[in-house]
């Protein structure tokens, strides 16, 4: 009798797992760091993406089908990212995936998407290796070789720097890749990298590295890290007597950066995907919508989240069916798509070809300085 009840329970449990699939909607899986060390990345992206999905649904959806966004939190950890993406694929049966911001997390999750032949669009992972994971992995942002070149060029031509030091995050694929590119480009442009130090994400003490860097008297210090550490590094750099400008990449993009670093970040520069204070009509339009909805200013990551959603919607409209291979082909054919982060074309390596901006921090605000085309 008891065995009977048990097996009945088991059957109920198993059938609970394979719930009937609702075919009246298109399921979009999103994974990102909604909490954790880089939580503002995931939150901003999510807010931008939600705006895009709502806009599409309000306009009638795709061929009469509404989009349904299913979001999972990976707490900013690669191992979690791989797990939640597997869950989105096998349990929620998503048609497409959007995520992640941090390259290490996208890299961890991409093989799962590739194996299941579910197209994945990363809104803002800039490490080249991400899309090399397979032909189902795309991105709507530029890649680090371009970003590193932009900053190396900016340091040499605009700041007239002859020497530079690098302080990189040993644990992050993004930071390591960007640092390598910057080093190579800066040297190729005639500069000398006088010091190359590292830390590990989660560190709080950078005094030793910064003191060593100060001794080499570089003209600029390139810190391709994420905002949490960059804020602390800027503070401790000033304490250690480094007065040189700090340069960085889009990992600086967070309203938390200025809260942590404060005055220590005055006169520092970083490359980014877009500028919130840009005068482009598309950007102004987006900023207004975003501010109405969330009562705050959007960052570049929110814009990229929005663009990722819009690129997907555009591909869904053109795709022959909702099956992975058809959707993949449609995304790959994206050309001259006008997004809020600029005009983009998906190239043969599934990367977006588009321009970058250089931003300057002055008087506690982030300002647009220049646009650099590929």
């Amino acid at each position: 009798m008891r065995a009977w009840i048990l097996s009945l329970g088991l059957v109920a449990l198993l059938s609970g797992c394979s719930k009937p699939i609702d075919d009246s909607v298109i399921r979009v899986g999103e994974y990102g760091a909604l909490t954790g060390d880089i939580a503002t990345f995931g939150q901003s992206t999510h807010e931008g993406l939600v705006l895009a999905i709502e806009e599409i649904n309000l306009a009638g959806g795709i061929a009469g089908k509404q989009l349904k966004l299913i979001t999972e939190d990976d707490r900013g950890k690669p191992e979690e990212a791989a797990t939640v993406v597997q869950k989105l694929i096998s349990h929620d049966k998503v048609h497409a995936l959007i995520g992640e911001v941090a390259s290490s997390n996208s890299l961890a999750a991409a093989p799962n998407a590739q194996r299941a032949k579910i197209p994945m669009i990363s809104p803002s992972s800039t490490n080249p290796k991400v899309t090399q994971q397979g032909d189902y992995i795309f991105r709507v942002c530029f890649i680090d070789p371009f970003q590193g070149k932009v900053m190396a060029k900016f340091a040499t031509e605009t700041l007239k720097a002859k020497t530079a030091a690098v302080l990189r995050d040993q644990k992050s694929d993004y930071s390591m890749g960007l640092a390598d590119v910057f080093k190579a480009e800066f040297s190729a442009m005639g500069g000398t990298v006088v010091e190359d130090k590292s830390y590990v994400a989660g560190d709080v003490d950078f005094k030793a590295q910064l003191t060593a860097i100060r001794d080499k008297k570089p003209d600029v210090l390139f810190v391709p890290g994420y905002y949490n550490e960059v804020g602390l590094i800027a503070k401790q750099a000033r304490q250690a007597g480094l007065k040189q400008p700090l340069l960085g990449g889009d990992g600086w993009e967070s309203h938390e950066l200025l809260k942590i670093g404060g005055a220590a970040l005055e006169g520092c520069y970083f490359s980014n995907h877009s500028a919130p204070d840009s005068v482009e009509p598309a950007v102004r339009n987006f900023v207004k919508k975003y501010e109405d909805r969330y009562k705050k200013e959007p960052g570049a990551l929110a814009m990229l989240g929005y663009d990722a959603g819009m690129v997907l919607a555009d591909a869904l409209k053109r795709a022959k069916s909702l099956r992975g291979p058809d959707l993949r082909d449609a995304i790959a054919a994206t050309k001259d798509f006008v997004g809020v982060t600029g005009k983009l074309t998906i190239d043969a390596d599934r990367n977006a070809v588009k321009s970058a901006v250089v931003l300057k921090i002055s008087k506690g605000q982030i300002h647009y300085l220049a646009t650099v085309n590929p």
């Binding site: 003191t211 602390l232 304490q239 942590i260």
Partner: protein
């Protein structure tokens, strides 16, 4: 030369914090023969307490010595109460049982506090308020040797608390009772020493030291999250073992040495080796001089 001096200053100010946490470890070990792995998490809880009260204080008044002292007192009280609670509800019921049970419970308490912290505060790091406006000045004219008032505060507070602890343990009645209890619970009980109270007091004092370290740590590295106690806790454990666990002076020496060693490795080697060095030191000490640098060579009775 001045660069080396600068590294030494940076290392000392990091080491002083390790030393403060290590003191709590060693104090509890001395009296219970217990590695209290929850110590680092009490440090974390104290950092959150300090963040909330320090944030509230600095919104109404300018940063300075008074908010700093108030925050210190508040965080130390919260941690002392938490330490008492942990002792009363997790460790005391196990008294008289094999020591391995205590050790396992301490790991359990540690995980409980970490996950409670994540559940209540969320894993997103928060900003520690500015309790003291930072100013940096040259120590020697034009040498490029920089000292900040934060470093001096950290060193000063640590030194003061270490001296106070030294007095408590070696000069006061309670200290004598603590030392007697450390020597033998039964012997102390025979002499009329309230052993349970003494152990509770030890936990309160040890936790308060961790709280002081948490405030100083927060001022130096303004970032608070529920897992922030794990690494400093482990480092302090290493410092305590390095100096000789159970020995107060050993904890201070171990903490300072570890801080210096880590800073020098990051400066002249690669920071990736920093944690490896710390744990390598632990293994080395256990292999070569298991009683630690200043530990007395006691034969364990099995």
């Amino acid at each position: 030369m001045s660069t080396l001096l600068q590294h030494l200053i940076n290392g000392l100010s990091l080491g002083a914090i390790y030393a403060l946490i290590a003191l709590g470890y060693t104090l509890v070990f001395g009296i219970l023969r217990l590695f209290n792995f929850a110590h680092g998490d009490i440090f974390m809880a104290a950092a959150f307490a300090a963040m909330f009260v320090g944030g509230a204080l600095t919104t109404t008044q300018a940063p300075g010595l008074i908010p700093l002292l108030l925050t210190l007192v508040f965080a130390m009280s919260v941690a002392a109460v938490l330490g008492l609670a942990v002792e009363r509800f997790a460790y005391r019921p196990l008294r008289g049982q094999p020591r391995i049970n205590l050790l396992i419970i301490s790991v359990g308490v540690s995980l409980l506090l970490e996950n409670l912290g994540q559940a209540i505060f969320g894993p997103t790091p928060r900003l520690f308020p500015e309790l003291l406006t930072e100013t940096t000045f040259s120590a020697l004219a034009d040498s490029g040797l920089l000292v900040s008032n934060l470093d001096l505060t950290v060193l000063g507070c640590s030194l003061g608390l270490m001296l106070a602890l030294e007095w408590l343990v070696h000069r006061s009645r309670w200290g004598r009772a603590m030392r007697a209890t450390a020597h033998s619970h039964d012997g102390a009980r025979l002499l009329g020493i309230p052993v349970d109270t003494v152990i509770a007091l030890t936990f309160a004092v040890g936790s308060a030291l961790a709280a002081a370290a948490a405030v100083l740590y927060g001022m130096k590295y303004p970032r608070v999250d529920p897992l922030m106690g794990v690494i400093p806790g482990l480092k302090a454990f290493i410092a305590a073992v390095l100096g000789g666990i159970g020995n107060l002076r050993g904890a201070v020496v171990g903490g300072l040495l570890l801080g210096l060693a880590e800073t020098l490795v990051s400066a002249y080697g690669a920071s990736t080796w920093r944690d490896a060095l710390a744990f390598g030191l632990l293994i080395g000490v256990l292999l070569i001089k298991p009683q630690g640098l200043l530990g007395n060579n006691r034969v364990e009775k099995v």
